[in-house]
C-alpha cells in the first residue's frame, strides 16, 4: 500500500460482457485533476465520443472519489457521479456525501468506470478485491429504501454501503438520481437514469482496506488546526442545529425565496415551514456525513396522522423550499412526506418542484386547463396535486409523462410556457431568487451542468465586507449581493474553490461557505497526504483546469455564450413584493458575463476558452 493518499485503483466494469479490470490510478491525472469530479471530467474528455447517446450502453458512467475521502478530513465524504446527461445533453455530474464514497476508497477504488448494459437487472457487489455482478431482478421496482435494506439483508451485513436507483429511474424519468444512505442523493442531471439504462439497480460496497497518507504526523497537525477552525467558526452552532434548513429564514429575510414559482421573494408561511420549526417539532437527533464534526443533518420523526410512520434523515434546504415556497405550500408535514416520496422514488427534488410549480403557474395564468392535466387542481399549494404529480411523474403516468423529461422538454411538448420555464441549459434552477443575489445569478448562468449554485456558491456577496472585497477582488461591490460589479471575479474565484472541493472530495459547507482552508493550506494538506510538492497556486489551477475542461466538453455539444443566460423573469421582471429588501431588482447579466469571460481568459464573443488559455492549462485537444 503506497502512502500517497490514493486508494490506488480505477475499476472498469463492462456490464455487457461482465469484464472487470483493475488498473492503477494514473498519477499524472491526479497531478492535473486531483480526483473526484476532476478525474471524471478528464476521463470523459478522453473516452466519451461526442455524438454518443447518453443512454447508449457504451456511454461511460463514472464515479470518482477524491484523495481526501476516507481520511480524517472532517466531511471528507463525497463522491461525484458523472456522465453525459440524458436530461440536458451536456455534462451530467452530481455529488453526494454520506458513507458510500469513503467505503469505495476503503475497497481500494479512486474511480469506477461503468460501461455496457447488463443482460438483466443487476447490482454490483464490491467486497474489497472481489467484484461481482449479482442478480437484481427481484429488486427491480423497489424504491431506494427497500433496495438498500434488501441488499444489506441479502449480503448479511448492515454495514454495506449502497448507492441505489428507484422506480423513477427505471421508468426513464430524466431527472432520476443515485441515492446513497437513503437520503444522500447525487440527484442532479439524471445520473440515476443513466444507471437504469445499464440495468444497474445499485452498487454495494464493503471495504476493509485503508488510506495511508505520506506524512501522517503533519497531516494530523493540519487536521487538528482545521477542526479547531470549524469548531470555533461563528456559524458552527447554527449549522450544527439547522444545517441548510436555516436558509428558509435567511432567504425570507432578504426577500429571496422562490415563492409560487419565483413570483415573489417573500413567503407568508416561511415561519411555519422553517428549519427552526422542524427542529422544534420533529428533530430527534443531529446526523453527520463521514468523519464530519458538524451534525448539519437530522433524523426526524413526524406525528401527523395523515402520514403515519413518516420518519427519515433530512431534509436539506433545497427540497424543503421546493415543496413549500416554490409550490406555494405552507403544510410542513405534507412537504416532508413529499420529500420522502421523492427520495424513495429516486428523483431530483429541485427538478420535480420546478415542473410542479411551472404547471401551477400555467394554471394560474389560464395557459393550462385542469382537463389537460388529468383533472388535477392546478392552484398553487394544492397538496393533493403536489402528491399526485410526484407519483405520476415517477411512473410516467398520464400528465406525469409530459413532465418527466424536465421543464424545458415539457414546455416544448405542450408548446407553451417556455418563457416561464426556470431552467438554464435544460437543468432546473435551485430554490432562491437570483435577482436578490447577483453573483448567484451569474454562477447559475455559466455553471457547467446547467442552472446550478453548487458550481460556485459565491456566498461572499452576502458578507457586506467591502474592505475584504477590495482586498480580494479590487472591487468593493463584490461584497454587495444586489450589485453586479465584481461578480465576474467573485464567481470565477468560487468556481475554482467548488471545483477543488469536488475534486478532493470534501464538503462545500466547510470548504466554500465557511472558507476553512485557503489555497496554501489546502496545498499543505495535499503535500502531507500525497508526499508530492503542491503550491497554493497549483491547487487553484486544478480548479481552473476543471472549469475549463468542463467548458471544453460542453463546447463539443454546442454550448457557447448564447447558452449562458437565465430565465426571462430574472432579466426583465423586477422582483417583488414592493416592501421586500430586494424589491425592484433585476439581473444585469450582460456586464457580469463580460467581466467573467475576461477573468476566465475566454473569448467574450463565443464564451469559449481561447487556445492560449487551453495551452496554459495543458488542455490542448
Amino acid at each position: 500500500m503506497t502512502a500517497n493518499g490514493l486508494a490506488g485503483s480505477v475499476l472498469r466494469i463492462d456490464l455487457s460482457t461482465g469484464d472487470i479490470i483493475r488498473e492503477p490510478t494514473d498519477p499524472h491525472l491526479v497531478r492535473a485533476f486531483l480526483g473526484g469530479r476532476g478525474l471524471n471530467v478528464a476521463r470523459l474528455l478522453r473516452e466519451l465520443p461526442t455524438g454518443m447517446d447518453p443512454l447508449a450502453p457504451e456511454a461511460p458512467l463514472l464515479i470518482g472519489v477524491g484523495p481526501l475521502v476516507g481520511t480524517s478530513f472532517p466531511g471528507g465524504a463525497r463522491f461525484n457521479i458523472t456522465a453525459r446527461s440524458p436530461q440536458t445533453g451536456i455534462l451530467g455530474d452530481s455529488n453526494a456525501g454520506g458513507f458510500f464514497g469513503p467505503e469505495l476508497r476503503f475497497a481500494g477504488i479512486d474511480q469506477l468506470v461503468i460501461t455496457g448494459r447488463a443482460p438483466h437487472p443487476a447490482f454490483l457487489w464490491i467486497d474489497d478485491d472481489r467484484v461481482v455482478l449479482q442478480d437484481a431482478r427481484d429488486l427491480w421496482g423497489m424504491d431506494t429504501l427497500e433496495t438498500t435494506v434488501a441488499i444489506q439483508e441479502a449480503l448479511g451485513d448492515a454495514g454495506v454501503q449502497v448507492a441505489a436507483i428507484g422506480p423513477a429511474a427505471e421508468h426513464g424519468v430524466l431527472f432520476s438520481g443515485v441515492f446513497a444512505n437513503l437520503a444522500r442523493p447525487a440527484a442532479r442531471t439524471g445520473m440515476g437514469t443513466v444507471m437504469a439504462s445499464k440495468n444497474l439497480k445499485a452498487i454495494a460496497v464493503r471495504g476493509t482496506g485503508e488510506i495511508r497518507v505520506a506524512d501522517s504526523g503533519h497531516f494530523r497537525e493540519c487536521i487538528a488546526r482545521l477542526n479547531e477552525r470549524i469548531l470555533s467558526h461563528p456559524e458552527y452552532e447554527i449549522r450544527s442545529r439547522l444545517g441548510t434548513t436555516r436558509l428558509i429564514t435567511s432567504l425570507q429575510a432578504i426577500g429571496g425565496l422562490p415563492t409560487r414559482h419565483f413570483q415573489s421573494g417573500l413567503f407568508e408561511a416561511a415561519d411555519a415551514v422553517s428549519g427552526e420549526t422542524i427542529e422544534r417539532q420533529y428533530k430527534v437527533r443531529g446526523k453527520a456525513c463521514f468523519a464530519c464534526n458538524i451534525p448539519c443533518s437530522r433524523f426526524l420523526v413526524t406525528d401527523d396522522p395523515r402520514f403515519p410512520g413518516l420518519r427519515f434523515e433530512g431534509p436539506e434546504y433545497e427540497p424543503l423550499a421546493g415543496f413549500t415556497a416554490r409550490v406555494g405550500n405552507g403544510d410542513l408535514p405534507l412537504a416532508l412526506h413529499a420529500i420522502d416520496r421523492c427520495n424513495r422514488l429516486g428523483m431530483d427534488a429541485i427538478s420535480v418542484t420546478e415542473v410542479i410549480a411551472w404547471v401551477m403557474e400555467l394554471g394560474q395564468r389560464g395557459m393550462l386547463a385542469s382537463a389537460e392535466a388529468d383533472g388535477l387542481d392546478l392552484e398553487f399549494g394544492s397538496g393533493e396535486s403536489i402528491l399526485a404529480l410526484i407519483e405520476k411523474i415517477a411512473h410516467r403516468e398520464g400528465f406525469g409523462d409530459v413532465l418527466a423529461d424536465g421543464v424545458r422538454t415539457a414546455a416544448h411538448k405542450l408548446v407553451r410556457g417556455q418563457e416561464l420555464a426556470m431552467e438554464v441549459k435544460g437543468l432546473e434552477l435551485f430554490q432562491a431568487d437570483v435577482r436578490a443575489m447577483k453573483g448567484y445569478a451569474l454562477g447559475n448562468a455559466v455553471a457547467s451542468r446547467g442552472a446550478d449554485h453548487l458550481r460556485s456558491e459565491p456566498w461572499f456577496e452576502f458578507s457586506g465586507d467591502r474592505e475584504e472585497a477590495v482586498r480580494r477582488y479590487g472591487i468593493p461591490e463584490a461584497a454587495d449581493r444586489l450589485a453586479w460589479k465584481g461578480k465576474g471575479k467573485l464567481v470565477a474565484h468560487f468556481e475554482e474553490m467548488a471545483s477543488v472541493s469536488d475534486a478532493i472530495g470534501v464538503c462545500k459547507n466547510t470548504y466554500n461557505n465557511m472558507e476553512v482552508l485557503d489555497w496554501d493550506e489546502t496545498a499543505e494538506l495535499l503535500v502531507a497526504a500525497t508526499g508530492r510538492p503542491w503550491t497554493g497556486e497549483e491547487v487553484r489551477r486544478v480548479g481552473e483546469r476543471i472549469v475549463n475542461a468542463e467548458r471544453l466538453l460542453n463546447a463539443r455539444w454546442g454550448i457557447t455564450r448564447r447558452d449562458d443566460t437565465l430565465p426571462r423573469r430574472f432579466l426583465q421582471e423586477p422582483i417583488g413584493p414592493p416592501d421586500s429588501p430586494s424589491a425592484g431588482s433585476v439581473v444585469e447579466l450582460g456586464p457580469m458575463l463580460e467581466e467573467y469571460y475576461s477573468v476566465r481568459g475566454w473569448n467574450s464573443a463565443t464564451g469559449l476558452p481561447t487556445p492560449e488559455k487551453l495551452h496554459d492549462l495543458g488542455l490542448e485537444e
Binding site: 476516507g70 481520511t71 480524517s72 472532517p74 458513507f99 469513503p102 476503503f106 429504501l145 438498500t148 435494506v149 448492515a158 454495514g159 444512505n181 437513503l182 437520503a183 471495504g207 476493509t208 482496506g209 485503508e210 488510506i211 495511508r212 497518507v213 501522517s216 494530523r220 477542526n227 469548531l231 430527534v284 437527533r285 443531529g286 446526523k287 453527520a288 456525513c289 463521514f290 468523519a291 464530519c292 464534526n293 458538524i294 451534525p295 433524523f299 420523526v301 420518519r311 427519515f312 434523515e313
Partner: protein, 136 residues
C-alpha cells in the same frame, strides 16, 4: 481508579470520526475496519450507536482466550500478547457487547487500550456522544 468509555447515544451523529481517529493513532492509517470501536448504524431507523469496549470485570474475552494471549490488567484494560495469539477469534465470540473485532488481515483482535488514558475517539467526538469517566 480506572477509566472507561461512556456512550450517550442520543448525541451520536453517526459520523464515525471516532473510528477514523482510532485507526489513525493505533495503526497510523485511516481504516474503520482497524478501529477498536465502531458505530452500529441503521439508516432507515435512524440508529447510530457507538459500540465500545466495556472493560468488563473478569472479562469474558480474556477468559475465552485458549493461549492466554489476551489478559486483563488491574485497571480493567485488556492487553494482547501478539506472539501468543493464534487468531482463533474466541475472544470476539465471547464479547457480550460485540465490541471486540478481529483485524481483517492479521486475524488478531483489535483491543481497546484507551490510548494511555487519552483516547483519540473521545477527543475527536464533536457532539459529546463519547466521553471518558473514572470509575472505582
Amino acid at each position: 481508579m480506572a477509566l472507561r468509555l461512556v456512550v450517550d447515544e442520543m448525541y451520536c451523529s453517526g459520523c464515525r470520526a471516532c473510528e477514523v481517529a482510532c485507526s489513525d493513532v493505533h495503526e497510523n492509517t485511516f481504516s474503520p475496519a482497524l478501529s477498536r470501536l465502531h458505530a452500529l448504524k441503521r439508516d432507515a431507523e435512524g440508529i447510530d450507536r457507538p459500540i465500545v469496549c466495556h472493560f468488563c470485570a473478569e472479562a469474558p474475552c480474556a477468559a475465552a482466550c485458549p493461549t492466554d494471549a489476551l489478559s486483563q490488567q488491574s485497571n480493567g484494560v485488556l492487553q494482547l500478547d501478539a506472539t501468543l495469539c493464534q487468531g482463533c477469534g474466541e475472544c470476539a465470540k465471547a464479547c457480550p457487547h460485540r465490541a471486540l473485532r478481529m483485524h481483517p488481515r492479521t486475524g488478531q483482535p483489535l483491543v481497546c487500550d484507551l490510548y494511555e488514558g487519552e483516547p483519540a475517539c473521545v477527543a475527536v467526538c464533536a457532539t459529546g456522544a463519547l466521553s471518558l469517566e473514572e470509575r472505582e
